[in-house]
Symmetry: C2
Subunit: 379 residues, 2 copies
């Protein structure tokens, strides 16, 4: 057959097989403007041979010559995290429309892979970069290499405007407020909160939003009911963290009727922990998550949660890079922060508080043992 040593069919193969020159073949197959001038018989002939030989143009050679790859590097902190997938959807949809190809890279929740992945993207000459960040995110100075090679970059899940990088980050404060408001409206007075691990930037503003709202309702959160997930490297740790925290919560015997968890997986862990203790959701205790990922939707009871507009965020990110690219490489615009609004999704895991708080059914019923009073929290 027409195989070269490389094993791939090239223009030269087709040229030889058809009797025309490489140029002509190229012009025909790439449908260059000049191809109008090529005799239609020739065109057909060349095309048929190409089909027959199973020719596919070499994207590498093309990009080298054209000096543009039409490619956007997409660096996801962990492709197996259900949080990433709707974002990817959004990105891919938009990129496709714009005629760009995503170069998907998975950091697999490993810090060290972040750096090498970025390297890779640079070497692949992506025309732009989108980073989906999360707890596993190295403040790598490779980001400045990206700028040095003036490749536009957008980051989702982190505010890096200060470093001159376009950022997209949900309004966490509003999200926290939304959650607190919902429980407030249902009549909950004793709400437990599981904060995210310290290094997560989302954690603080969500907590602030919760506090602000609870305070507005004339209440406060009992400090004994505030927990924090441990710093983690482990990706599926959300669920485990929630489970363990729930156990702790119950063991502490400090009464509560609702839990706001840091994210959906954590919330699912809490549900499990409550179930272990014989507590039903939402009859005995309401549980809320954050993000709205698939497992939250398909669990029973389905999870009430604060939905991040993940798909839209992906679209937005893609639009921005593409825009930056088209705008022209030199044009340094001021980096902007986009703060989409989250949305309350009421499902089945929340309801009115129980008439009496039963804490642990199988041991001494410690109903309503009021905890010692504490000083109000600092604002």
């Amino acid at each position: 057959m027409g195989q070269r040593k490389s094993g791939h069919v090239t223009l030269l193969d087709i040229a030889q097989a058809s009797g025309f020159s490489v140029s002509t073949v190229s012009i025909v197959l790439s449908e260059a403007p000049l191809s109008q001038n090529v005799a239609s018989t020739t065109r057909e002939h060349i095309r048929s041979i190409a089909r027959q030989l199973g020719y596919h143009p070499d994207a590498y050679a093309q990009s080298l010559r054209r000096r543009s790859t039409q490619t956007i590097g997409v660096l996801a902190f962990d492709l197996s995290d259900p949080f990433c997938t709707p974002i990817m959807r959004g990105i891919q949809g938009t990129l496709r429309e714009a005629g760009y190809l995503p170069l998907i890279v998975d950091a697999q929740a490993q810090r060290k892979l972040f750096d090498s992945s970025l390297h890779m993207i640079l070497e692949r000459r992506a025309d732009g970069v989108i980073v989906i960040a999360s707890w596993v995110f190295e403040e790598t100075n490779l980001l400045s290499d990206v700028k040095k090679n003036n490749v536009p970059i957008v980051i989702i899940g982190r505010d890096l405007v200060a470093r001159g990088i376009d950022s997209i980050l949900v309004d966490n404060e509003a999200g926290g407020a939304l959650a607190a408001r919902h429980l407030n409206d249902l009549g909950h007075k004793r709400i437990a909160v599981i904060r995210g691990p310290q290094e997560m930037v989302d954690s603080e503003p969500r907590w602030a939003g919760i506090q602000r709202t609870v305070a507005a309702g004339g209440l406060e959160i009992d400090p004994e009911l505030v927990f924090e997930l441990p710093s983690i490297a482990d990706p599926a740790s959300g669920f485990e963290g929630g489970l363990r925290t729930a156990r702790k919560m119950i063991a502490s015997r400090c009464p509560f009727t609702a839990v706001i968890a840091f994210d959906d997986l954590t919330a699912l862990g809490v549900v499990r922990g409550l179930a272990e203790a014989g507590l039903r959701v939402p009859q005995d205790c309401s549980v809320m998550g954050f993000d709205d990922v698939l497992p939250a939707e398909v669990a029973t009871p389905s999870m009430t949660t604060i939905r991040q507009p993940l798909t839209e965020m992906g679209c937005e990110a893609a639009q921005r890079v593409v825009h930056s690219i088209r705008k022209g490489r030199g044009k340094e615009e001021k980096a902007r922060l986009h703060k989409p609004f989250p949305e309350l999704v009421v499902r089945m895991s929340t309801g009115p508080p129980p008439a009496t708080i039963k804490l642990i059914q199988n041991s001494s019923p410690a109903e309503l043992r009021r905890p010692r009073r504490r000083a109000p929290l600092p604002v």
Copy 2:
């Protein structure tokens, strides 16, 4: 700065900045064997300039020249399906070790994207291809183009040995048997089965395995309790399908104490449907899934399921392509089928059957209405 019109720092830039030739710079930076001969002062000088300018070699130019991309195309039918993610993990881990880069492509559960994605992979000159198939999988003749360009290919989730393609597919028959056996051991006599949509190849053997095992126990499955998911294009349809089927099941008033669902998402749908009718899992009815994906694990009650060794399957696939590549391009080995064994994972969604079957609590209790006797099913 040292920016060319392309906006990327090249060897030439460094050559000019350092006063050495492009060759020398290349030899130093790519750490070619010859670089031993280069004066160490020169080496350092060149390296420092490269660092300073933020140089990254152009993977396109490199691959073009080296005639090898060290890249494996990975075509996933739907990256947002939790089924894919452990496979991807396995693939990526193994590829990384072997020094290959995955070129991840997402068909986003759209048939038409399959073709263009394969095109893309060919154009990107992947040294090999791994396809993760499922219901959305076009029997595209592009697969023969892949062979024409003699790129080794492995498919997961489909048996395409007949077409000369290495295949990896879980032993579905054994899986079905495992599930049936488990329920049998627990003492269930009236088992409902939700088969997969017709076009899914997994469906038939699973059903065969179930039947074989049930028959071995001297029982049979009531044909009234056999359902089939509709043919679907929609990806998240598993859950919906399970939910709807459960409703139908309950409405039919034909008694059952356990359900074997086609996959985990379907099983979660069933749980929801049962809950709607006030039935508890596993006290009133046991439910089993298949695959063992994340949502099954974090649901409460956690889902008893038949685990596919997805990560291992990914590893295996990667090893095979890499092996085929190393083996040499021409060497046409006979295509093989790898049939990994599934594993029963007992969790909380299954238990002994209830003493009395309560079907729908709020309407007339149709306990144990025995269905009309049927002829035994064909083996």
